[in-house]
Structures are given as structure tokens and as C-alpha cells.
Subunit: 402 residues, 2 copies
Amino acid sequence: MLIVKKFGGTSVANKERIYNVANRCVEEYKKGNDVVVVLSAMGKYTDELITMAEDINEKPPKREMDMLFTIGEQMSVSLMAMALDKLGVPAVSLNAFQVSMHTTSVHGNARLKRIDTERIRRELENRKIVVVTGFQGINKYDDYTTLGRGGSDTTAVALAAALHADACEIYTDVDGVYTADPRKVPNARKLKEITYDEMLDLATLGAGVLHNRSVEMAKKYGVPLVVRSSLNNSEGTVVKEEVTVERMLISGVALDTDAVRIAVIGLRDVPGVAFKLFDVLAKKHINVDVILQSIGRAGTKDISFTVDGKDLDDAMAALEEHKIRLGYQELHAERNIAKLSIVGAGMMSNPGVAAKMFESLYNEGVNINMISTSEIRVTVLINEKDGVRAMNAVHDAFNLAD
Amino acid sequence: MLIVKKFGGTSVANKERIYNVANRCVEEYKKGNDVVVVLSAMGKYTDELITMAEDINEKPPKREMDMLFTIGEQMSVSLMAMALDKLGVPAVSLNAFQVSMHTTSVHGNARLKRIDTERIRRELENRKIVVVTGFQGINKYDDYTTLGRGGSDTTAVALAAALHADACEIYTDVDGVYTADPRKVPNARKLKEITYDEMLDLATLGAGVLHNRSVEMAKKYGVPLVVRSSLNNSEGTVVKEEVTVERMLISGVALDTDAVRIAVIGLRDVPGVAFKLFDVLAKKHINVDVILQSIGRAGTKDISFTVDGKDLDDAMAALEEHKIRLGYQELHAERNIAKLSIVGAGMMSNPGVAAKMFESLYNEGVNINMISTSEIRVTVLINEKDGVRAMNAVHDAFNLAD
């Protein structure tokens, strides 16, 4: 069997944890399996690099930022290979140049395009554990790129797909996917299985366990994912196409407090306005989420939408730059909001799921600002201060507790 | 003009020094010149990486050590590019993969073989300052290698040669080449010019200003070198084929306290013994310096030689491993020795230079253990405790003072 294992920054934050990971890999290796390990930068090292860069230049060029970022994973993988050597198992660390992790050109938010597996296969044939840098790639100019937040998950899934791995295990500091974030909902329950689609909505909606691109890619290539803890041996959660156990109405409740809402007031009510507005944002690579359009005063319309908090400044700047062309009157940003979502493949065949969610929020006295739905998801925008309380209320209403 | 500038670790040790270097480069750039900057890792960062590695594995594999080392220069170059951007000058940082710095395969002590200059030329044509990682290369397996101590000097000279640069400036924490180390010989004098050959002997002999391979390469390709300070604007020392000023009997006195002496006692006195002995060391890539062979007891012979202190353990291990095949009786290592050398192209045409050196040591009561000479150099092995005193005595004897 060929197993890809991905460990995040907290799992390799110090010597003891590095050896904990090394031992788990050796265990797998000694079963006779081929092992590919994908690592993130150690602990908070990426944050340290940001601090270092911003001390030099408060707005560092993104191309150079990626050049700096990539040393974080290179440090992790070389130290891991040294630990494996110490445990008597041959290992080799590889960076994005050595694996040829081809990506798109955008710095800070590139997408994987193609992976050359030749080098990895050769090392596996020589019975080495192959330790690969997550998060990083190279673009067509031979420059380093990074895959954005949680990018190491994507690296692991992409490698599993390219190598036709038998399993892709994502190790985190939680031991699986829960019906809600256990830090916020104390009686949340661990799921044994979840579908790609549900996971995708949970990832997108801020559950934070897996990077959404990694789930998209896993779904696309049918890579079976396991989310489990690096600190214990509990079974974890399997992410796959069809769930075979415990078919429930909804699988989880997610709260995202990173989102901000931008309101564009008094747009001319003519065709093409929405297109122009979102085109401006798309050109800056800003993802827009929940969108609401409403009739404004005197033949105008208002458009509100949410973006990730980190993109707020860029989005506002882009909209202000094009104020005349877009023809709006006012621009507002609202930071104190939260997105609360329920996700479940079961809701497709069960009407009344949304109504039940709204009822529980009404009973809790939580005001709903915006609503957005998909086939397997209902999302509401609420005040940030109501977030955790609302999440628990909805979690209870659907009987998700242990 | 195309200028290659190399700055060592102390020159980029913190934000202020990074900006000091950046400003010097911008100054050059604004004259209309093309600027390529070669950097080492910041301050003592390489030592920190060694500590980090040895905490994980006290004998880390050299291949992984190089993988870890190379992040040091990558950090320097990306931060420098950010500083240049902040100063309003376009810049791009490049690592050994991006420049294609091809080297031999030996980890920790590789030699440069070939540099692809295409990428650098393209960036220069776009009027960017190009910031290149020193010290590192890639071998034919696409693995990182490092060039050994002072390797960034070699990177700079090799780039200057490959790019047909008009000058190669090596910036250090001293402002040129002195007749002796000014920290040990207070009245040492700065040289305006020195020949490659003299510099080569000084570099090899522990003057520590330039890496010997970089001087060899500069001589081979006729690259004019300037050694100068990164902290002031003093003129520095030019290293070139022929010196045109101040033709002196000797150019400098060098003291090397890093060397250790190994004595191999009681070798069989048969042909091929010396070959076998040094072959064992060559296979481990250990450089051997001053060699002395003498008649031992009862049809045996003794061979003594010096190696660099860092190679002592490897050398002793290799010799012990082959004890039976080499057929010696005892092996001794002597750490408390120093190599004192005088260097000067002038001595070729002036007999009596060596005698004058020996006389001054005799007057100072310094005992000589071994002697080795070349056309432009005389080296003696003395006790380490006599080193600085002997150096000053010889410096005075040749009237090298200010």
C-alpha cells in the first residue's frame, strides 16, 4: 500500500512532536507500506516569517513573500528526514523544485496544475520514506508560489491523486470532523463518515478542519481522505463519495467569524452592474460569498456580499478605485458579522430543514441579516456576538449532540 | 557596467545592515550599472541551523544538512529583495534552482561546475537588481549542495566569470587585505594590491579574508576582485594577476590555528604506503596540508600531516578503519598547533627569505616543528601558544608595519 500522510504545523512544532510524527511514519513503513509525508512549517514559524518580512517592508512584494515562506516547510522536511534517519529508516526530503509541483502563477494563492511523480517513485522504490514540503509550488517562471491557507492539505491530496495512493491521511490537532467546533459547542459529536460535498461546504464555511481546495480535489480524483489526530490513535473521520453509516438529516453546524460584509449602496439600476462589480473583485482574486441584491431608493439598487476578512482592504480599495465606472453612491463595510451554516446531504430529501433552523434562531432571539442556501446547505448571516449561542441552539435543535 | 557584489553574514545580520547593503546596491544601480548581489545567511543563522539539526540527530545525514542550510541564504535574499523594493528599485531574489548553480555531488563541500546565466540576464535586462543565494548549488540528482566554508565568495566569483562582469566586489567586516590579521598584529598595514597567487596562499593559510576556491576561480577566469568593507567607503584591496604598486619582498604573514596534526607512526617501509594512506583520506574528501615523512624505528617510517580541525574526527576514523591494510603501529592527533606562513611573489627572486623568517623565530625562542615551502610561501608548524607572538616577530622582521 502507498499511504500519504499530512501533518500540520502544530504536529511538528518541536523536537518531541517531530519524533512523534517520525515514529508514526516508521510504524507504517515497517508494515511494508510506502510512505509519503507532507509537512507544513513548524508551529507559528510562518507567522514569524511574516513579522520578519513586515519589519523590512510593510508591504512586501508577494513574489518575495513566497520565496521567504517556502523556507518554513523546507526546514520541517529536512529536520523530519534527520529524525527518520536517527530512527534507522532511510528518508529523503523534497521541496517543490525537486518534486516539480507545478502551479498557476498567482503568488500567495496559486493552484496546483501538475505534479511530476518520477522522483518520488524512484525514492519509494529504494524503500525510502519521502518527506515533501506542503503549501509550496513553482510556477512557469520557475518562481516559488504558495497555495494559500491550508495549502498543505491540497498538496497531500494532489500527491495522493498523482501517485494513486491507497489512502490520504490528514493529521490535525482535532481527532476528526465534528458536528460542530467542540471548542464552541461542548456536546458536539465526532462523525465516522462524511461526504465530499458536505465536507466541502463545511470547509468553505469555516469549520477549519480541511482546506476546501483539498476536498474539491479529493472529490475530483476520488481520493479517500481520513481526518485524524496526530496526538492519539482514535479512528478519525473518513471523507468519501457516499456515506454508508448513520444517515442523518444534517451533518454539522459551522460558524465563520472571519467574514466581513460589504454593502454597495445606490447602484444605477441598469443591466450589467452586478457583472461589472464582481468582475472588479474577481480581477483582484477576491472570493465573494453570500450575495444579496435589493431595491434601493429612486431607481437604484443595493448589493451586499461577504468576503474573507483578509481581503477586505483589497476589496474596498478596488471598489473605490472604480467608483465612477460602477456608479454607486456609498460603500460600507461591516466587520462584526458571523456566518452560521448547517450542512447535510440528508436535507435534499427532507423539506423543512431551513424552517427548523430559522425557528431555533427565532426562539433564541437571534436576528438574521441575510440568507443563502444550496442543495445541502443553509447559511445565515448574524451578528458576531450571537455566533456561539446561535450555533449551540441550532446544534441542539437538530439533536446532533452525543 | 555589470558589477557583482558579495556580502557576508555579518553584513546582513539585522534590519539596519540589510538596508545598509540595499542602499549601496541602489547607489550602484542608479549610476546605470547592472547589479548582481550575492548573499550569505544572516549573522550566525547557519550556526543556529546546525544546533537545530544536532538537537534532532547528532549526526544528521549531509544531504539533509544541505537541505536545511540552504534556507539561510534564501531568507537573506528574499528579505534583501523586499528592502530594495521598499527603496523603490525593482529586485528579484533567486536560489540555486532558479539560477541553475550546477555543482559536483558531494554534500557540504561541493564544487561549482556550471552556471546557467539566462535567468539572471533576463532579469538584468528588465533593469532589476538580482539577489542570488551564495554558498548553495544543486547537483545532478537535483539535490541541494553547499560549497563549504566561505562558499559565497566562490558563488560571487563564479557568477562574475559566467556573466563576464566588469568587477567582483567582496564585502567583508574588514576593509581589505592586510599584511597580517590586524586583531593579532596591531601595526599591520592594508595592501592596495595583491596577486592571485599571493592571495591564494593567504586564503589557504588561514588569513580568512577570502575563500581559497574563490581566488583559484578568479585567477582561472581572470576576474578582478576587490576586497572591501561593507561598513565604510575605504578603497579596499584589489586582487589581480600582476601587482603594479609597492613591490615588496613579502606581502603578508598568516596564522592558522584551525589545523591539527596527525602522526601515523610505524608504517611498513614499502612502496605505496604513502599512496594508500592519502588515498584513504582523499576518498573521504579530506584535504591534507603540510606533510612530513621521516624514518622510524626498525625498517618503518612515520608520516605526519595537518588537516583542518573540522576533519579530524573523520580522518582518524578513516585511518583506524584501515589500520590493518595500512599496517601502522600508532596514531596520534595533536590539536595545539599553529601554521605560520609568509607569502610574497617577491621571494622568488630574493634568496634568504626563509632564513630571515627562521632567524626571527629563533630570536623569539619559538620552536619549529615542521617546514613546508612553495615558490611564494614559507610555512612553519609551531606550538599554538607561540602563534601570535611569532606572527608579530616575523611581521616586524620584514618591516611590514605601517
